[in-house]
Amino acid sequence: MKTVLVVDDSAFMRMLLKEKLEKIGGVRVYEAANGGEAVKEYERLNPDLVLLDLVLPDISGEAVLAAIRETPSDTKVIMVTAVGQRLVMRRCEKLGISGYIIKPFDDAELREAITQVL
Protein backbone atom coordinates (compact mmCIF):
# COMPACT_ATOMS: atom_id res chain seq x y z
CA MET A 1 0.00 0.00 0.00
CA LYS A 2 1.44 3.38 -1.04
CA THR A 3 0.86 6.49 1.03
CA VAL A 4 -0.36 9.68 -0.62
CA LEU A 5 -0.75 13.07 1.04
CA VAL A 6 -3.21 15.41 -0.70
CA VAL A 7 -2.59 19.08 0.13
CA ASP A 8 -5.28 21.51 -0.96
CA ASP A 9 -7.17 24.23 0.90
CA SER A 10 -10.37 23.13 -0.83
CA ALA A 11 -12.16 20.24 0.88
CA PHE A 12 -14.02 19.72 -2.37
CA MET A 13 -10.80 19.32 -4.38
CA ARG A 14 -9.34 17.02 -1.71
CA MET A 15 -12.49 14.91 -1.98
CA LEU A 16 -12.22 14.78 -5.80
CA LEU A 17 -8.55 13.83 -5.71
CA LYS A 18 -9.15 11.22 -3.02
CA GLU A 19 -11.91 9.65 -5.12
CA LYS A 20 -9.63 9.54 -8.15
CA LEU A 21 -6.74 8.07 -6.15
CA GLU A 22 -8.96 5.40 -4.66
CA LYS A 23 -10.11 4.47 -8.15
CA ILE A 24 -6.48 3.93 -9.11
CA GLY A 25 -6.19 1.69 -6.05
CA GLY A 26 -3.38 0.49 -3.83
CA VAL A 27 -3.10 3.79 -1.96
CA ARG A 28 -3.85 5.11 1.48
CA VAL A 29 -4.82 8.77 1.26
CA TYR A 30 -4.17 11.44 3.88
CA GLU A 31 -5.15 15.08 3.66
CA ALA A 32 -3.86 18.51 4.66
CA ALA A 33 -5.80 21.75 4.24
CA ASN A 34 -2.95 24.25 4.55
CA GLY A 35 0.81 24.53 4.32
CA GLY A 36 1.55 24.19 8.03
CA GLU A 37 -0.55 21.06 8.29
CA ALA A 38 1.07 19.72 5.12
CA VAL A 39 4.58 19.98 6.54
CA LYS A 40 3.50 18.33 9.80
CA GLU A 41 1.73 15.50 7.98
CA TYR A 42 4.69 15.03 5.66
CA GLU A 43 7.05 14.68 8.65
CA ARG A 44 4.67 12.27 10.38
CA LEU A 45 3.88 10.10 7.35
CA ASN A 46 6.93 10.33 5.09
CA PRO A 47 4.52 9.60 2.21
CA ASP A 48 5.38 8.05 -1.13
CA LEU A 49 3.65 10.87 -2.97
CA VAL A 50 2.41 14.39 -2.21
CA LEU A 51 -0.20 16.03 -4.44
CA LEU A 52 0.44 19.69 -3.67
CA ASP A 53 -1.64 22.78 -4.41
CA LEU A 54 0.21 26.06 -4.83
CA VAL A 55 -2.15 28.70 -3.45
CA LEU A 56 -2.73 27.92 0.23
CA PRO A 57 -4.05 30.14 2.99
CA ASP A 58 -0.91 30.26 5.14
CA ILE A 59 2.37 29.36 3.42
CA SER A 60 2.54 28.67 -0.29
CA GLY A 61 2.77 25.22 -1.84
CA GLU A 62 6.18 26.24 -3.09
CA ALA A 63 7.34 26.81 0.50
CA VAL A 64 5.94 23.41 1.45
CA LEU A 65 7.86 21.86 -1.43
CA ALA A 66 11.05 23.59 -0.27
CA ALA A 67 10.50 22.26 3.26
CA ILE A 68 10.01 18.74 1.91
CA ARG A 69 13.19 18.98 -0.13
CA GLU A 70 15.18 20.08 2.91
CA THR A 71 14.68 16.62 4.37
CA PRO A 72 16.33 13.49 2.99
CA SER A 73 13.50 11.42 1.54
CA ASP A 74 12.33 9.72 -1.65
CA THR A 75 8.92 11.37 -1.54
CA LYS A 76 7.65 12.30 -4.98
CA VAL A 77 5.77 15.56 -5.34
CA ILE A 78 3.27 16.41 -8.06
CA MET A 79 1.98 19.98 -8.11
CA VAL A 80 -1.78 20.13 -8.74
CA THR A 81 -2.70 23.76 -9.21
CA ALA A 82 -4.60 26.18 -11.44
CA VAL A 83 -1.48 28.37 -11.64
CA GLY A 84 0.36 27.53 -14.85
CA GLN A 85 2.78 30.45 -14.78
CA ARG A 86 6.10 29.43 -16.29
CA LEU A 87 8.10 31.37 -13.69
CA VAL A 88 6.47 29.38 -10.90
CA MET A 89 6.70 26.07 -12.74
CA ARG A 90 10.42 26.56 -13.32
CA ARG A 91 11.06 27.31 -9.65
CA CYS A 92 9.13 24.20 -8.61
CA GLU A 93 11.04 22.10 -11.13
CA LYS A 94 14.31 23.37 -9.68
CA LEU A 95 13.20 22.38 -6.19
CA GLY A 96 12.38 18.89 -7.48
CA ILE A 97 8.96 17.72 -8.61
CA SER A 98 7.78 14.68 -10.52
CA GLY A 99 4.94 16.44 -12.32
CA TYR A 100 2.96 19.65 -12.67
CA ILE A 101 -0.75 19.23 -13.34
CA ILE A 102 -2.81 22.28 -14.14
CA LYS A 103 -6.40 22.45 -12.96
CA PRO A 104 -8.79 21.78 -14.54
CA PHE A 105 -7.20 18.42 -15.32
CA ASP A 106 -8.70 15.39 -16.96
CA ASP A 107 -8.77 12.03 -15.24
CA ALA A 108 -6.41 10.36 -17.72
CA GLU A 109 -3.75 13.05 -17.22
CA LEU A 110 -3.94 12.71 -13.45
CA ARG A 111 -3.96 8.91 -13.54
CA GLU A 112 -0.93 8.81 -15.85
CA ALA A 113 1.08 11.23 -13.70
CA ILE A 114 0.29 9.28 -10.53
CA THR A 115 0.87 5.80 -11.90
CA GLN A 116 4.20 6.91 -13.36
CA VAL A 117 5.59 7.82 -9.95
CA LEU A 118 3.97 5.19 -7.70
Binding site: A11, F12, Q85
Partner: protein
Protein backbone atom coordinates in the same frame (compact mmCIF):
# COMPACT_ATOMS: atom_id res chain seq x y z
CA UNK B 1 -27.43 34.22 4.61
CA UNK B 2 -25.69 30.95 3.80
CA UNK B 3 -28.15 28.52 5.40
CA UNK B 4 -29.28 27.06 2.06
CA UNK B 5 -25.84 26.14 0.83
CA UNK B 6 -23.62 23.57 2.50
CA UNK B 7 -20.00 24.24 3.49
CA UNK B 8 -18.87 21.76 0.82
CA UNK B 9 -20.90 23.52 -1.87
CA UNK B 10 -19.46 26.91 -0.92
CA UNK B 11 -16.00 25.40 -0.86
CA UNK B 12 -16.54 23.97 -4.35
CA UNK B 13 -17.58 27.39 -5.64
CA UNK B 14 -14.47 28.96 -4.10
CA UNK B 15 -12.39 26.30 -5.85
CA UNK B 16 -14.14 27.03 -9.15
CA UNK B 17 -13.22 30.72 -8.77
CA UNK B 18 -9.65 29.76 -7.88
CA UNK B 19 -9.38 27.64 -11.01
CA UNK B 20 -10.63 30.56 -13.11
CA UNK B 21 -8.23 33.02 -11.46
CA UNK B 22 -5.29 30.62 -11.65
CA UNK B 23 -5.70 30.16 -15.39
CA UNK B 24 -6.24 33.88 -15.92
CA UNK B 25 -3.08 34.58 -13.92
CA UNK B 26 -1.09 32.56 -16.44
CA UNK B 27 -2.08 34.93 -19.24
CA UNK B 28 -1.30 37.93 -17.05
CA UNK B 29 2.08 36.50 -16.17
CA UNK B 30 3.02 35.65 -19.76
CA UNK B 31 2.07 39.12 -20.97
CA UNK B 32 3.84 41.04 -18.21
CA UNK B 33 6.82 38.73 -17.75
CA UNK B 34 6.16 38.86 -14.01
CA UNK B 35 4.81 36.51 -11.42
CA UNK B 36 1.16 36.99 -10.49
CA UNK B 37 0.46 36.12 -6.87
CA UNK B 38 -3.08 35.05 -5.98
CA UNK B 39 -4.91 34.72 -2.68
CA UNK B 40 -7.38 31.97 -1.88
CA UNK B 41 -10.85 32.96 -3.06
CA UNK B 42 -13.56 34.49 -0.85
CA UNK B 43 -17.26 33.78 -1.18
CA UNK B 44 -20.33 35.69 -0.09
CA UNK B 45 -23.92 34.75 -0.64
CA UNK B 46 -26.17 37.76 -0.32
CA UNK B 47 -29.37 39.42 -1.44
CA UNK B 48 -28.83 41.53 -4.54
CA UNK B 49 -29.49 44.76 -2.67
CA UNK B 50 -26.53 44.06 -0.39
CA UNK B 51 -24.01 43.82 -3.25
CA UNK B 52 -22.66 47.35 -2.68
CA UNK B 53 -21.55 46.29 0.82
CA UNK B 54 -19.13 43.81 -0.77
CA UNK B 55 -17.27 46.67 -2.43
CA UNK B 56 -17.14 49.10 0.46
CA UNK B 57 -13.47 48.35 1.09
CA UNK B 58 -12.52 49.64 -2.38
CA UNK B 59 -11.49 53.25 -1.91
CA UNK B 60 -10.59 55.75 -4.57
CA UNK B 61 -10.87 55.52 -8.32
CA UNK B 62 -10.80 52.04 -9.86
CA UNK B 63 -10.70 50.76 -13.41
CA UNK B 64 -13.13 47.89 -13.90
CA UNK B 65 -13.26 45.63 -16.91
CA UNK B 66 -16.51 43.80 -16.92
CA UNK B 67 -18.38 41.29 -19.08
CA UNK B 68 -21.62 39.42 -18.66
CA UNK B 69 -21.70 35.63 -18.87
CA UNK B 70 -24.22 33.94 -21.12
CA UNK B 71 -25.04 30.37 -22.05
CA UNK B 72 -25.92 27.60 -19.62
CA UNK B 73 -25.03 29.84 -16.69
CA UNK B 74 -25.58 33.56 -16.23
CA UNK B 75 -23.51 36.05 -14.31
CA UNK B 76 -20.79 38.62 -14.56
CA UNK B 77 -17.04 38.52 -14.35
CA UNK B 78 -14.81 41.47 -13.55
CA UNK B 79 -11.19 42.48 -13.30
CA UNK B 80 -10.99 45.39 -10.87
CA UNK B 81 -7.82 47.46 -10.56
CA UNK B 82 -7.18 50.58 -8.54
CA UNK B 83 -6.41 53.40 -10.99
CA UNK B 84 -2.66 53.41 -10.30
CA UNK B 85 -2.52 49.62 -10.70
CA UNK B 86 -4.32 49.86 -14.05
CA UNK B 87 -1.74 52.39 -15.22
CA UNK B 88 1.13 50.22 -13.97
CA UNK B 89 -0.34 47.22 -15.77
CA UNK B 90 -0.64 49.24 -19.00
CA UNK B 91 3.03 50.25 -18.63
CA UNK B 92 4.05 46.61 -18.11
CA UNK B 93 2.05 45.48 -21.14
CA UNK B 94 3.54 48.21 -23.34
CA UNK B 95 7.01 47.58 -21.87
CA UNK B 96 7.11 51.25 -20.95
CA UNK B 97 8.95 52.77 -18.01
CA UNK B 98 6.90 52.64 -14.79
CA UNK B 99 4.89 55.85 -14.40
CA UNK B 100 4.46 56.48 -18.13
CA UNK B 101 0.67 56.01 -18.12
CA UNK B 102 -0.87 58.79 -16.06
CA UNK B 103 -4.48 58.83 -17.20
CA UNK B 104 -7.00 56.50 -18.77
CA UNK B 105 -6.30 57.74 -22.28
CA UNK B 106 -7.62 55.97 -25.37
CA UNK B 107 -4.12 54.55 -25.81
CA UNK B 108 -4.22 53.02 -22.34
CA UNK B 109 -7.79 51.79 -22.84
CA UNK B 110 -6.81 50.22 -26.16
CA UNK B 111 -4.13 48.24 -24.35
CA UNK B 112 -6.22 47.25 -21.34
CA UNK B 113 -9.46 46.39 -23.10
CA UNK B 114 -8.37 43.57 -25.48
CA UNK B 115 -5.88 42.22 -22.98
CA UNK B 116 -8.50 42.09 -20.24
CA UNK B 117 -10.87 40.30 -22.58
CA UNK B 118 -8.27 37.62 -23.11
CA UNK B 119 -7.66 37.34 -19.35
CA UNK B 120 -11.38 37.06 -18.57
CA UNK B 121 -11.86 34.54 -21.38
CA UNK B 122 -9.21 32.33 -19.81
CA UNK B 123 -10.95 32.77 -16.46
CA UNK B 124 -14.28 31.62 -17.85
CA UNK B 125 -12.86 28.94 -20.16
CA UNK B 126 -11.19 27.20 -17.21
CA UNK B 127 -14.51 27.16 -15.36
CA UNK B 128 -16.43 25.84 -18.36
CA UNK B 129 -13.81 23.15 -18.92
CA UNK B 130 -13.91 22.12 -15.26
CA UNK B 131 -17.70 22.02 -15.17
CA UNK B 132 -18.29 20.83 -18.73
CA UNK B 133 -20.75 23.65 -19.17
CA UNK B 134 -21.22 25.93 -22.17
CA UNK B 135 -20.81 29.59 -21.34
CA UNK B 136 -19.40 32.63 -23.08
CA UNK B 137 -18.50 36.23 -22.38
CA UNK B 138 -20.74 39.02 -23.58
CA UNK B 139 -19.64 42.47 -24.62
CA UNK B 140 -16.70 43.74 -22.61
CA UNK B 141 -16.92 47.11 -20.93
CA UNK B 142 -14.22 49.18 -19.32
CA UNK B 143 -15.26 51.79 -16.80
CA UNK B 144 -13.43 54.11 -14.44
CA UNK B 145 -15.39 54.81 -11.32
CA UNK B 146 -15.12 55.26 -7.57
CA UNK B 147 -14.64 51.88 -5.91
CA UNK B 148 -17.58 52.14 -3.57
CA UNK B 149 -19.95 52.69 -6.50
CA UNK B 150 -19.06 49.42 -8.25
CA UNK B 151 -21.58 47.59 -6.12
CA UNK B 152 -24.40 49.80 -7.38
CA UNK B 153 -23.18 49.32 -10.91
CA UNK B 154 -23.13 45.53 -10.53
CA UNK B 155 -26.55 45.48 -8.88
CA UNK B 156 -28.06 47.45 -11.76
CA UNK B 157 -26.30 45.46 -14.45
CA UNK B 158 -27.53 42.04 -13.33
CA UNK B 159 -30.14 41.21 -15.91
CA UNK B 160 -32.33 38.56 -14.40
CA UNK B 161 -32.69 40.20 -10.95
CA UNK B 162 -32.21 37.10 -8.81
CA UNK B 163 -33.09 37.34 -5.14
CA UNK B 164 -29.67 36.21 -4.03
CA UNK B 165 -26.31 36.19 -5.65
CA UNK B 166 -22.97 34.49 -5.06
CA UNK B 167 -19.93 36.77 -5.12
CA UNK B 168 -16.52 35.17 -5.52
CA UNK B 169 -13.41 37.26 -5.18
CA UNK B 170 -9.75 36.38 -5.79
CA UNK B 171 -7.12 39.03 -5.12
CA UNK B 172 -4.04 39.31 -7.31
CA UNK B 173 -0.77 41.19 -7.16
CA UNK B 174 2.13 41.70 -9.52
CA UNK B 175 5.32 43.11 -8.02
CA UNK B 176 6.08 45.91 -7.53
CA UNK B 177 2.82 47.83 -7.67
CA UNK B 178 -0.11 46.14 -9.38
CA UNK B 179 -2.93 44.98 -7.13
CA UNK B 180 -6.42 44.01 -8.12
CA UNK B 181 -9.05 41.36 -8.00
CA UNK B 182 -11.13 39.01 -10.07
CA UNK B 183 -14.79 39.04 -9.13
CA UNK B 184 -17.34 36.53 -10.31
CA UNK B 185 -21.05 37.07 -9.71
CA UNK B 186 -23.42 34.16 -10.08
CA UNK B 187 -27.16 34.11 -9.50
CA UNK B 188 -27.91 31.29 -7.08
CA UNK B 189 -29.51 29.16 -9.81
CA UNK B 190 -26.39 29.36 -11.98
CA UNK B 191 -24.20 28.50 -9.00
CA UNK B 192 -26.35 25.46 -8.33
CA UNK B 193 -26.10 24.46 -11.99
CA UNK B 194 -22.31 24.64 -11.80
CA UNK B 195 -22.26 22.55 -8.63
CA UNK B 196 -24.44 19.87 -10.18
CA UNK B 197 -22.12 19.72 -13.15
CA UNK B 198 -18.79 19.52 -11.30
CA UNK B 199 -19.98 16.93 -8.80
CA UNK B 200 -23.36 15.99 -7.46
CA UNK B 201 -23.05 17.78 -4.12
Amino acid sequence: MTRNMSELQMDALREIASIGAGNASTVLSEATGSEVVLTVSDLELMPVEQIPRFFQALRGMVVTVYASIGGEILGNVMLILPKESAFSLADLLREEKAGTAKRLSMKVQNILRPFSRSVLEYYLDAITKFSNIEAHLGELRLIATFGETIGDFVRLSIGEKPERIILLKTELSIAPNVKGEFSLFLPIRSAERLLTQVHDI
